[in-house]
Structure formats: C-alpha cells, structure tokens
Symmetry: C2
Subunit: 329 residues, 2 copies
DNA sequence: TTGTATGCGTTATCAG
DNA sequence: CTGATAACGCATACAA
C-alpha cells in the first residue's frame, strides 16, 4: 500500500507537508503543493481512511438509518431513492457513509447504539422514517451525542435538523385539486398511522379543507396499509364523492376496491411512487423527490458537523397525475 | 471514548491480554477471560474499528455493489432485498459492510477502483447484477486483488465465488408448467438482454424445451424492458399459444398488452417480484429469495477471506403463482 | 499464560 | 512556510 510517506519521499518533502496539502491547509506554497500533487498522481496515492480517522478525531463517518418495513414491501422504491440520493451525494462530498437498517438496531439500548456508532467512528446520522413511538430514537436525539438529520419528523435542536416537505399544504392542495376537478362535495379520507408525524400533518390538512370548503368529511385510519384501505373503501366509499388517501399504497388499495365495486370515485394519493401507474386508472398524487431529499440531508448533516446549528428545512413538492404510460419505458 | 487501555486498567491486566480476549486467542486462562469480559461489560467498551483495521491489516471490510438501473425502477424491490439480506447477515457475523452503487464507480479505471477500495480498507466485494459487457468488473475479478462473490454470473476462480440459481432449469420448469397447464403447442419467448448472463441461460432453456416437446418457438428480445415486451406482445402474441418472459417486468408488460388486445394467453415470468400481483391476472413465475441469496454471498465471502478457494454455488428456487391477494396485507 | 514494545498511516502541535 | 515528533487505539512478535 502506497502511503503518505512514499508521497513525501517522491516529492522530497516531509510527511506533515503532504498531510497539509491533502487537507488544504492555508500555509503551503504553491510550488510545494504542485510537487506533492504530482507525486500523488504518479503513485496513485489514496489516503487511508482508517488511519485518518484514528488520528483526527475530526471527520467522522455518517450513518443512514433506513426503516424498510415502515409501510410495506411495495414501497421499497422510496427507500432505494433515499439510499441512492444519500450515497451519491456523500461520495461527491467525500463523506464516508454506511447504510443501517432499523431491524439491525431495534433491540439495542441508547447506550449500546451510541457505543456501536462511536466504535464505528460515526459522527452523524440521517434518520429516514421515524415515528412518534420510537422511544429509542427520541432519546438518541435528545442525548445530542451525534449530529442528526431527521427526515419526515419535525424535530430539531442545536444538534439536529429536520427535513421534510410541507405535508399539510401538499395534502390540502392535492385534495382540493381532486375535489375541484370532479366537483366533489364530500370526502372519505383514509388517514395514515396515528404514530406517524406526516400522517398527522396530512390529516390536519383534510380537516382544514373540509372546514373551509364546507364539505362533508369521514376520516378512517388505514394505517398506511393497502388492505386496510381496501376494506375501508368497500365499507364507506359508496356514500361519498371522493377518496383521499394519506399514501399512494392506500390509494391503490382504494382504487382497486372501487373497481371491484364497479363504481367510480376520484382517488388521490401521496408520495408519487411508480406503482401508482399500475392500477389502470389515473390518480392525482403528491410527488416527493426522495433522492433529492436525502441528498439535501447529507448536505445539511455536513453543515451540522462543521458547527452549524440545527434547523427546520422545508423542501418543495409537485402535484402530478400518474398513469401507466408515464412509468413504463 | 473508552479504550482497550481502560479495560486493561479496570481488569488489572495488560493491554495485549485484553486484545487477546477480544480476538479469541487460545492461550488465555478462563479466569482472566472472565475478569476482562466483566470490565468490558462494566465500561460498555466497544473496539474501535478504525484502530483495529489500521493495526491488523488482516480483517477488512466488505463492499456490496448494487446496480439499481439494471432493469427499471420498479424492481427496486430486488435490490432492497439484496441489501437487506447482506447487511443483516454481515451484522450477525460482525463483518463491516458498505453499500456502493455502480453509478458511483462507473467512470473509474480498475486502478482507481482498486485504490479507492484499498483506501477504505475493503478486502472483499459482493457484486450484484453484473453483465457480460462490464469490462471494468471483469478486469477487477481477473486482477484477483480482492476476494469477490458474484451474484448471477458464472465466474469463479481462486479468489472468486459465483452464486446463483439454476436459471436454465428454472426457466425450463416454469415454462413447461405453464404450457402443460394450458395445453400450449407454441411459445412466444421474450428474452432478456443479450449481455446478461442469466438471460442467456434462460434462453437456452426455452430452446431445449421447444426441442424436447416439439413446440413451435418464436424468440424476441425484450431487453428486460416492460415497454419492449409490450410491443413484442402486440406484434406476435396473437398467433401463438403462450408468452414466456425472461423477467417479471416483461411478463407484466406482456400481460397488460394482452388485456388491451382482449385475448387470453397464459404468461409466465421470472423473479417473483411483488408487482406481479398488481396486474389483475395470475401468472406463474420463478421465485428467487434475494435476501437469502445475498446473505449466502456474505457467508461465502467470509470463507474466501479466511482462505477458502472460490467455487460455484447454486441455490434453490421455487415455482409460484402470484396474485393480488398474496401480496396485499 | 501474561506483559512489553513496536508499528500501522494519519493528523496536529510545535520548533525551526 | 516546512519539518520533526507525539499521539490515536489496537494487534502482534517477542520476552518473561
């Protein structure tokens, strides 16, 4: 393995000088910088991650926490986008990142988790898919032992930033759009899980809409489950004008149920997953750019790690209509 | 950070003794082992990954290479299963693993890749979704600089193992089953990409089947694309008894086309993805257990790293019929 | 069986 | 602006 020492020899300078060039220290003459970079090039030198971590205490790695079973198998798409966005942005910013699934840390205590991450030289976390119930994660955030970016939960403090879209406004917009297009007077709303932050925001929106537009509203909890949405639809949809759902998967369940009942009701979902195109009917939905979101999370975590204070970040969304022709290719 | 030194103090032994306990050296008395473990417990000590890597040169990390765009977005499911299986098995075996997407290393040379992995202390690779065309990966394997497990490609040498299912037999079985159930005399086969190893195996199978059973066979290349399969179906399906596809996604494209044409032809796919349940018709397919496969890959890589020679491993598959009721929940 | 000493490749602190 | 040199936490050959 070619080390910083070899580079120093080749360039005819001291080891510490090479290190300074590598880490973009200010006090290095342009000339030596050139020499060193030339040597690095010639030798194909790449700094050893383990050594720099051991030595510096400074730069640490980051961990991406993914919760695959949050909804169901069919939304792997969302998690893949989270992973893809975060990994490539991290590579671009030369940050070292590892992927961790919730299931791997589920039965660990906060202390165990903390020790585990410390032993892995992890300084920052990105949490995707956190719900109100996860006591361990809340404690972890409160402990402020790591810099953390939380996606889809409104939690921030000195060490923690929050990133999400305006779920309330988005749900309002898409439901209003769907209602207006179809002249609906009443809504069946299939809400998400009670312990989900985003589900709460979305539900608030539909209640505001019903109030403002004086529409009749029936709210049922679908738990983000396609099957539950299906059952709810069979039971309640007939007497109402439209079905608004807190997730695409539930929208799909609702639409399939409606097709079996052989009645038409406009349906809208939330998230913009590809699967939406497969049910045979167009549906309105809120499209989130998940890989962009996680990329932004990496950037934000970088800022936290370099000393910025935590904050709340709201990203844009898009209202779309998804159909089979859009997703096939 | 609590270090091995603290543990040594607490237990009243030397640093090296602690290290020996940690690494399960033989020559340690049961008594000191107890003392050390007690101290470790009390202090909540977890060994520092970076330090042990720097020091040992022995155990390295492993990288999981994922190719997300191999087919289309809709099969993120497969990659998620690969990731989930590998990560959790790695955690279980206390192996350190990172996830890498092809897109992040696409335009690097073999030397660059090698240096990059070396700098990250990576000793072994698991490659998911390799095709015949990827010159860089083939060179990487030939170079034998890393221990490698390749999924879905029949490549093995002293340092490289191959893992896949018997694609030839599986394709034969599922097509025969579908043909028998529906008394078909002729087949439209929509093959995969020409540069895919698995596609080649699957195509061989269908040719053998047609020969042995004296069935008429028309082979067209669908490139693993849903859209291509759709077009092929529109053009050729009418005159043939059934449509066999080299992937589920193409099977879905074919089935949707048949539904639009308003004719019935039995369709079979390959892989067993959840999406199969969404097209409204039952279809036969070959179900692969992707997370199991990647978990086995991790185990195999562990063996390679501890000196075993590379080999070819064939895992089992299952013939299933997928419908909406099976996947919803 | 246990302890001592050295080195792994960097970074960071100080002298020069 | 540049060069020695001491950490960083651990593994390991060697001495006891």
């Amino acid at each position: 393995m070619v080390s910083i020492k070899d580079v120093a020899n080749q360039a005819g300078v001291a080891i510490s000088t090479v290190s300074k060039v590598l880490n973009h220290y200010p006090n290095v003459s342009e000339q030596t910088k050139q020499k060193v970079n030339k040597a690095i090039e010639e030798l194909g030198f790449v700094p050893n991650m383990a050594a720099s971590m051991l030595s510096s205490k400074q730069a640490g790695r980051i961990a991406l926490l993914i919760n695959p079973n949050m909804q169901t198998q069919a939304v792997d798409e969302i998690n893949m986008q989270y992973i893809a966005g975060a990994l490539s942005k991290a590579k671009e910013l030369r940050m070292d990142i590892i992927t961790v699934f919730f299931s791997m840390i589920r039965d660990m205590s906060v202390t165990e988790i903390t020790n585990y991450f410390r032993s892995q030289n992890i300084a920052g976390l990105i949490i995707c898919g956190m719900d109100k119930k996860s006591a361990m994660l809340h404690k972890l955030i409160d402990a402020q032992a790591f810099k953390i970016v939380v996606i889809d939960a409104p939690i921030f403090n000195q060490y923690t930033s929050s990133i999400w879209i305006d779920n309330e406004q988005a749900q309002y917009d898409i439901a209003l759009k769907t209602a207006t297009e179809n002249k609906c007077k009443s809504i069946l709303y299939i809400a998400g899980k009670r312990d989900s932050y985003v589900a709460g925001e979305r539900q608030k929106a539909i209640e505001r809409l019903a109030r403002e537009k004086q529409m009749k509203l029936v709210v049922k909890f679908g738990e983000f489950s396609e099957l539950a949405a299906r059952k709810i639809t069979f039971q309640y949809a007939k007497k109402l004008d439209m079905v608004a759902c807190a997730s695409d998967l539930m929208a799909i369940g609702a639409m399939k149920a409606l097709m079996e009942m052989d009645i038409f009701r406009p349906v809208c979902g939330f998230d913009g997953i590809t699967l939406m195109g497969y049910v045979g009917q167009q549906m309105n939905t809120v499209k989130q750019n998940f890989s962009y979101i996680s990329a932004q999370a990496v950037i934000e975590l970088g800022k936290l790690l370099s000393g910025d204070a935590g904050r709340n970040i709201v990203l844009p969304y898009e209202l779309v209509r998804m159909e089979y022709e859009d997703i096939i290719r």
